[in-house]
Structures are given as C-alpha cells and as structure tokens.
C-alpha cells in the first residue's frame, strides 16, 4: 500500500460523500431535506478533520491509497 497526494477532498481516502453515508452521518437530515438534493452539491464528511466539507476543498493531510 502506498499513499499519494491528491488535489482535492474528492479523491481523498478520508472523505466520504455517498448520499447514504452522509444521511447516516447527519441524523435528521432526511426529515426535512436530503443528501440527494442539489443544494448539497458533492459535499461530504472528512473523517480526518471531523468536518463537513465541499468536495473541492483540500488540506495537507489529503491522501489516496493505492495498492502496490
């Protein structure tokens, strides 16, 4: 396994933005809104920083894992 730098949260190992995952991470979200809504864009949860961030964001810890 090797870690490589990535250009945005979208490609990061720590970033999760599948709608079902986002709804599970934010209880009550689907009561009066939805993770499938356009307003969410591609935002998701960063498990490294424990933040809810846009997919286009970036930080120093952003990495992807590749099988070697």
């Amino acid at each position: 396994m090797t870690h490589t730098r990535v250009n945005s949260c979208r490609q990061c190992l720590h970033f999760e933005n599948a709608p079902a995952t986002v709804e599970a991470a934010l209880p009550g979200l689907n009561s009066l809104s939805s993770a499938y809504a356009a307003v969410r864009s591609d935002d998701g949860v960063c498990r490294f920083h424990s933040r809810y961030v846009a997919a286009s964001s970036l930080c120093n810890a952003a990495t992807s894992t590749r099988q070697s």
Partner: protein
C-alpha cells in the same frame, strides 16, 4: 453519471413535467387524465368509502402503478435498492390513501382532522414510540415527494401571477432573511460560538431550513457535529411551527393569502411549510373568519418560500464561503470556492416549477377566464392538483416517520438561544410584513 440523473431535484423535474406533458397531450386531443388522477370523494359513512374503493379500485391501482414506476425508476438511478423501495412505497401509498380519505370525511374539520397534521402526528407517534419499521424506511423520501409536488403546483399558477407576485415575494423574503440571519449569526458569535456554526445556524433559520444548513455547512467547512446541531434545531422548530403558525393565524382570522405569505416567510423547510399552508387553506369556508380561496395559502407560501428564499441558497453559499476563506480563522481544510457554486447548489426543482407554469400558461392563452374555469381547469389543471395532493400527503407522512428525536444531536444552550432569537425575530417581522406592509397585496392574491 450526470447530475441530471443523480440528483433528486432533477428527477422531481422529470416526473413532474412528464405528468404535465401527458396531461397536456391528452387535453389537446379532447381528453383528460382524470381517470388516472383519482381522489377520494366526500363521505359521511364508512360504507361509502367501501363503495368508492369498489367502484374506483382499478383507478387507485393504476395510480399506484404510475407512482411506483416513476419513483422506482428514480430510486434506481439514485442508487437506492428498487427491491426494497417498492414494497415500502406500497405501504406508504396505502397509509397516505387512508389519510386522504380521512380528510374527506364530512366530520373531519369538526374534529380538527386536517390530513397534513394527522399524517405528521401519526408519523411522529410511530417513529418516537416503537420506531418506524426498517422495511418502510427506503420509501421515506420527504424532499423528493415535496419537490415533485412543487413542480406539479407550477401547473396551477399562471406565469403572469408569478411575474406579478414574484418581486414582492423576493423583496419581503430578502428583508426577513437578512434580518433573521443577522440576529442568529450575531447572537451566536456574541455567545462565543464558532463563526462556521453561526453561519450554518443562520442560513438554516433564514433561508431554507435543513437544506440551507447543509449547503452552508459544506460551503464553509463546518464541524460535522455543528451541522448536526443545526439540523436538530431546524427540524424541532420547523415541527413546532407546523402546528403553531396555522393556530395563531386562525385565531387572528388571517385570510388564506396573508397566512400563506406569513408561513412562507417564517417556516424553515418547504415540506413543513406546505403542511402548515395546506392545513390553513382547508380552514377557508369551514372556520368562521378565515376568508380566501383554499389554494391561496399554498400559492402564497410557494411564491414566498420557493421564489423568495430557496432560489438564493447558492448566492448565500458563495458569499459565506468567500468570507470563511478570507476572513475567518483557518481550520486546516482550505475551501476553494468560485461563482459556479451558485449554480451547483441551485435547487433545480424550481426550474421545473417555472417550466410547468409556462406550459399551462401557454396552453391556456386562447381561453378567457370563464372558458378557463369551464374547460381547462377541470380537464387539465384539476387532475394535476390531485396528483400534487398525493405527493404532498406522501411527504407529510414521511416527515413524522423520519423524525426520531432521540437520534438527534445534543444541542446545548448557546446554539438554542441564538437560533431561538432568530425564530422570534423572523416570526414577528414576517407577521408585520405579511399583514401590514404587504397585507393588501397578499389578501388580493387570495381572493
């Protein structure tokens, strides 16, 4: 896959416009989709319900088939399991049908059994006592049903009405949104809360509820638990307002147009506001002192909320994300925003709402008002209103069934105080603007 097929906003547009297209085509050839758009009729004895079901059973089945196909197809495209969605949707459709029938009992208003409120109370009771059955959960898509209903609602509103009332709605909503956001944001910052949480709470209260909170939470990179706090506060206050706003408006004898505008200004979420507005509309003609057309409450609400508030969420996200990047303390995550944010977060179902209005306005152009009421309304518009009522009922039922209070994040006193200050400012200012400043305008809309 393109956003055109992976976001529920677009699927609401496709479903709504496909139904309107079918209705228009049938109308053009001298027919109507009335057979398909089946609605329960008024009844006074249970035996009459049995008779209706016996006579119209195939029509209810056909309607279920159309909804199951449309929502099932979109569920598949959105990545949900169709095998789990369809049985759950069948159960939801049956309960929604029972509530629709209940609302048409001739004693329903006597016992205050307004379908939106009954749906909400029933759902809340189930989800917060023994729990919503796991098998039902795949079909509980509040926002999807409500967005589809709003697209269908566009067919009831002439484009000229939207053009006439839109600027007033935008003006009133802008005043209230800016004041409410300012009150929540400044209160939160003064109470020592993080600016990103303050902004997330502020847009949740001022713009479009939970959708506003997640849009801004993502745009500014808020802490995950702070987004959860904002969601909890918005949902709880939105549910309180579903009951409180119609009750207060009723005691003040507001007309349906004025009450709809007030609800559109002071409710936080589309689904919650439509539940309150539909409830209030039903008071017209049944509650002494409540004047106006029943549909005017929903019309005024939609103009105020959708055109006045929802449409602008992308602008809020862009501006606040710029502020977060350039002015606020750094978090370790660098937000890289651009003006494209405005379109990416734009609630696309609004496009369907406007296109629906344009289509029916175009079809109706050759008819004077009398001919419109005699020909276009019963054959084209009324069946689409029935389909809209079905989608709204599915949504109202889903609100309660998905609201499990014990799962919500612990909120803490300071976020509660800040958000509640905004709620108070919003409700008072919304009342003054809807009844005093623009009162005659909204009243006229309701006649």
């Amino acid at each position: 896959m393109s956003d055109l097929f992976k976001k529920e906003d677009w699927w609401a547009v496709w479903i709504g416009l496909a139904l309107i297209g079918g209705a228009v085509l049938t109308f053009a050839y001298g027919g109507s989709i009335k057979w398909l758009a089946i609605a329960p009729q008024k009844w006074s004895h249970l035996s009459e319900v049995g008779t209706q079901l016996q006579q119209s059973g195939p029509r209810f089945l056909a309607l279920f088939g159309v909804w199951a196909f449309a929502f099932g197809l979109s569920a598949a495209a959105l990545g949900l399991s169709v095998a789990r969605f369809l049985p759950a949707f069948l159960a939801l459709f049956i309960v929604a049908g029972v509530l629709y029938f209940l609302g048409l009992w001739d004693q329903a208003s006597h016992y205050n059994l307004e379908p939106p409120l009954v749906a909400l109370v029933l759902g809340l009771a189930v989800s917060n006592s023994w729990g919503t059955p796991r098998r039902l959960q795949p079909a509980l898509r509040v926002e999807f049903y409500i967005k589809t209903g709003i697209v269908l609602l566009g067919a009831s509103l002439p484009l000229t009405l939207i053009a006439w009332a839109g600027p007033v709605a935008i003006g009133q909503a802008a005043i209230v949104s800016l004041v409410t956001f300012g009150v929540i944001y400044l209160s939160a910052v003064r109470l020592g809360l993080d600016r990103r949480l303050a902004a997330t709470l502020g847009t949740g209260g001022a713009v479009c509820g939970v959708s506003g909170a997640i849009a801004i939470g993502g745009a500014v990179g808020a802490k995950k638990e702070d987004v959860s706090v904002a969601i909890s506060l918005v949902v709880v206050w939105a549910i309180v307002m579903i009951f409180a706003l119609p009750l207060v408006a009723r005691s003040l004898h507001l007309s349906t147009g004025i009450a709809g505008a007030w609800i559109g200004t002071s409710e936080f979420a589309d689904a919650a506001g439509l539940a309150a507005a539909q409830t209030y509309g039903a008071y017209a003609g049944t509650v002494a002192g409540v004047n106006g057309q029943p549909d005017s409450a929903v019309t005024a609400f939609t103009l105020m909320k959708v055109i006045g508030r929802d449409m602008w969420i992308g602008v809020w996200a862009f501006v606040l994300s710029l502020l977060a990047t350039t002015r606020w303390e750094r978090t370790g995550v660098e937000s890289r925003t651009d003006a494209g944010e405005i379109w990416r977060r734009f609630p696309k179902f609004v496009i369907g709402f406007l296109v629906a209005s344009a289509i029916v306005t175009f079809i109706s152009r050759g008819y004077d008002y009398a001919a419109y009421k005699k020909v276009v309304l019963p054959a084209l518009v009324a069946p689409l209103q029935v389909l809209r009522t079905w989608t709204f009922t599915l949504a109202f039922l889903s609100i309660g069934l998905t609201t499990r209070l014990r799962d919500f994040a612990a909120v803490g006193a300071r976020p509660f105080y800040a958000f509640t200050a905004g709620v108070a400012a919003n409700v008072i200012l919304g009342y003054v603007l809807s009844t005093q400043v623009f009162g005659s305008f909204w009243d006229r809309l309701g006649q």
